[in-house]
Subunit: 430 residues, 2 copies
């Protein structure tokens, strides 16, 4: 863990080092991913079966890669009823929030008498990637599938790898809860390729969403343009802004909740109170003694963790904006005064009673959020990932007389004569 | 030009061939673009000057790559006043439409007493790419810069190549009209790289937008993730749906307005009237005899043009949805009945008096639109390209008691103990 202090002479250099250290570069897997995608494109299901055998140690014919309705039902039935109830609570809240996101169409006639519009329509088919193995997260299923459903997407295909053939019953129960019935036990770049290009088994989709490892992220990057993708997900991050009036143990647990995700995850405490910084760092060490995922969390905290002591909340806000964090906790009495100074963050958790884990599961807003400083330009997953806009223009003869001549002048200036003629011949006829 | 007829036995195969022929693949320039980007990243302005000398035949020191305020003003002053008036008409209409697009924030307290929100904030810095040379389009400047301005973006940097040192006065006048003052005479992959990674001369931006050639498109693809980009622009397309009640010359001009853009452009007529199809094709041939850009337009029409005769408007709508065209003209008496059947299109032009050229210049909606069937999942440029969302969650102790236990159950099921503890320790304290 790094200690930084904005009052230190070395702060600018230290902070620049902290920022640069996170400049993730996925290029190292670009070539193997390119080869896998090309192979899926040319050999289809045969390649899909080969890679699944090789990477997931699961040898099955193509027609067994889809998980049958009976298998989904029998796996889902193994989930304890209290966990099912928790899934239902989460699903209800996620659905309600995302329904509130749905935008309205535009349709108006402007001062020149031109009728203009913009309408939102759902995508036809979406592919959901759900990580498997040790990171099989049922909450990811809810967070990816429900916004697509709310948006009106008709076909949802889901890919979840089953290493050694092992399925996660809670993941399948979550899918069932979202009405997802087309599920394949495949993963990695091969799953992304199959959904993007289609195989005999899997019809192509229009957009692929969902988090994954470096291979999945690179595969999404490479198929982008052929299909849509969501933001490229990097390691998870949290910035906790806290004053001295917090319980150090709660701050420590919130930092570790991020650190336990992944050795590459990053947890940063920004505080106005140097003594509190020490108490929180000590609390982190103490919790690591008993935390089950201490090995991962320690590595993350040691390599990427930071405690930054600032002289004012204004300085804290500057640091937050430079980090553009995926998650921001504001553990202050007036969290909204602080968050008004924040320009870039994926999600903000307001106050001392709202740990980031609320947002991972039951808050309602999406937990798929922009990482690696991409909150500067990107947003979390939402219904906007599953709808697109069509603009409309309608003019009658009178409207065309009003705005057409300016169009003719511009088309002529650009040397596009057929453009100009398509307007001027109509104007002459009117 | 291909002739297709939905009543022919070969239609499915013919249409599949038409679709497949457009499967553009930019991979051929991936390697040179990768090299240019790496060079810009390591050598900065020095590399930028080298590539500008090599590709644009323009040898300048780095500090002359930015176009000075005096140069912008003196170039813009050369634009005739009627053309300036046309630019102003276009700018006013584009600004008004994009202002109407701006979405509202969310802020509500839900049935569990949790306060949820979603706020939209502008990007800090955006890079606008404007093609130069023979395709220097002032309208592109308006269409890229104004939505960013409306969205509230503070810094707009623009790159426009100046082959042989030649600037386009109308492009600079359009930039001036939009309040863009940071303009560089650079282009290609090197301009995209400079804006994405930054050099001594050019501070990095957060998102790059604007159309360009295959190198620019591939460069945007490769920097995606490091910065945001808009959709990858391919060759332009139009589908004109027309009944027999149209003037064949107008339909021909609308088809040619697309074909004249680029030899790779595609213009397709879909009509319910086989005799009209022949009259329109004949009108295309006739116009090509006098059209100044006939060489380009002929090649586009010969190689990529198509006339598809359908038995019903329902069939026409199916074809439109499969093509997911960038531009759709509906030259029918009841264009909205037809467009209600259209699920995928970048922009729709309603009625016989609304050629696509209206939308290129003065309609108001953006002319940067999804090409190559990406309207299945992508949208035209808009204010949404220049703002991003931050979600917010606020709970008090009572709210946490209501939704926290479900979060604990899910975190425990996912094996994320610090997540669970960050909730349960707060619940115990309450």
């Amino acid at each position: 863990m790094k200690r930084l202090d904005t009052s230190a002479a070395s702060f600018s250099a230290d902070f620049a080092t902290l920022l640069a250290a996170r400049g993730s570069d996925e290029r190292s897997v670009a070539e193997p991913v390119r080869a896998i995608l090309a192979d899926i494109r040319s050999r289809g299901d045969e390649a899909l079966c080969d890679y699944t055998a090789r990477f997931d140690r699961l040898t099955l014919p193509a027609d067994k890669l889809r998980i049958s309705a009976e298998e989904i039902a029998s796996e889902a039935a193994r989930v304890p009823s209290d966990l099912m109830a928790a899934l239902r609570t989460a699903a209800r809240r996620i659905e309600t929030f995302h329904a509130a996101q749905m935008p309205k169409d535009l349709d108006f006639t402007d001062e020149d008498g031109i009728r203009l519009g913009m309408r939102w329509t759902p995508l036809d088919a979406v592919g959901l990637y759900v990580p498997g193995g040790k990171a099989a997260y049922p909450s990811s299923v809810l967070m990816n599938a429900l916004p697509a459903r709310v948006a009106g997407v008709k076909r949802l295909a889901m890919c979840v790898p089953a290493p050694d053939g092992v399925l996660n019953p809670v993941v399948l129960a979550a899918a069932q809860l979202c009405g997802v019935t087309e599920i394949y036990r495949i993963g990695g770049a091969q799953a992304v390729g199959a959904m993007a290009f289609g195989t005999d088994l899997i019809a192509p989709v229009d957009r692929i969403v969902g988090p994954g490892n470096a291979y999945v992220a690179e595969a999404k990057r490479q198929v982008f343009g052929h299909v849509g993708i969501d933001s490229i997900a990097g390691p998870s991050e949290v910035v906790v802004v806290a004053d001295g009036q917090n319980d150090p143990r709660l701050v420590a647990l919130d930092l570790l909740a991020q650190a336990e995700h992944d050795e590459q995850a990053q947890a940063i405490l920004v505080t106005t109170d140097a003594a509190f910084a020490e108490r929180a760092a000590e609390a982190v060490r103490k919790e690591l003694e008993t935390l089950p995922r201490a090995a991962i969390a320690s590595k993350s905290w040691d390599d990427h963790g930071a405690v930054i002591v600032v002289r004012s909340l204004e300085e804290a806000a500057e640091i937050v904006n430079a980090l553009a964090p995926e998650h921001l906790e504001v553990m202050l009495d007036a969290p909204r005064d602080f968050s008004a100074m924040v320009r870039h963050a994926g999600a903000i958790f307001m106050g001392r009673n709202c740990p980031e884990a609320v947002g991972d599961y039951v808050g309602g807003p999406n937990h798929v959020l922009p990482t690696s400083r991409t909150a500067r330009f990107a947003s979390g997953l939402s219904v906007f990932d599953f709808i697109k806009r069509t603009t409309t223009i309608e003019t009658d003869e009178a409207g065309l007389r009003r705005i057409g001549p300016a169009g003719v002048a511009l088309a002529t200036a650009e040397g596009l004569d057929a453009h100009a003629l398509s307007l001027s011949v109509r104007l002459e006829k009117n």
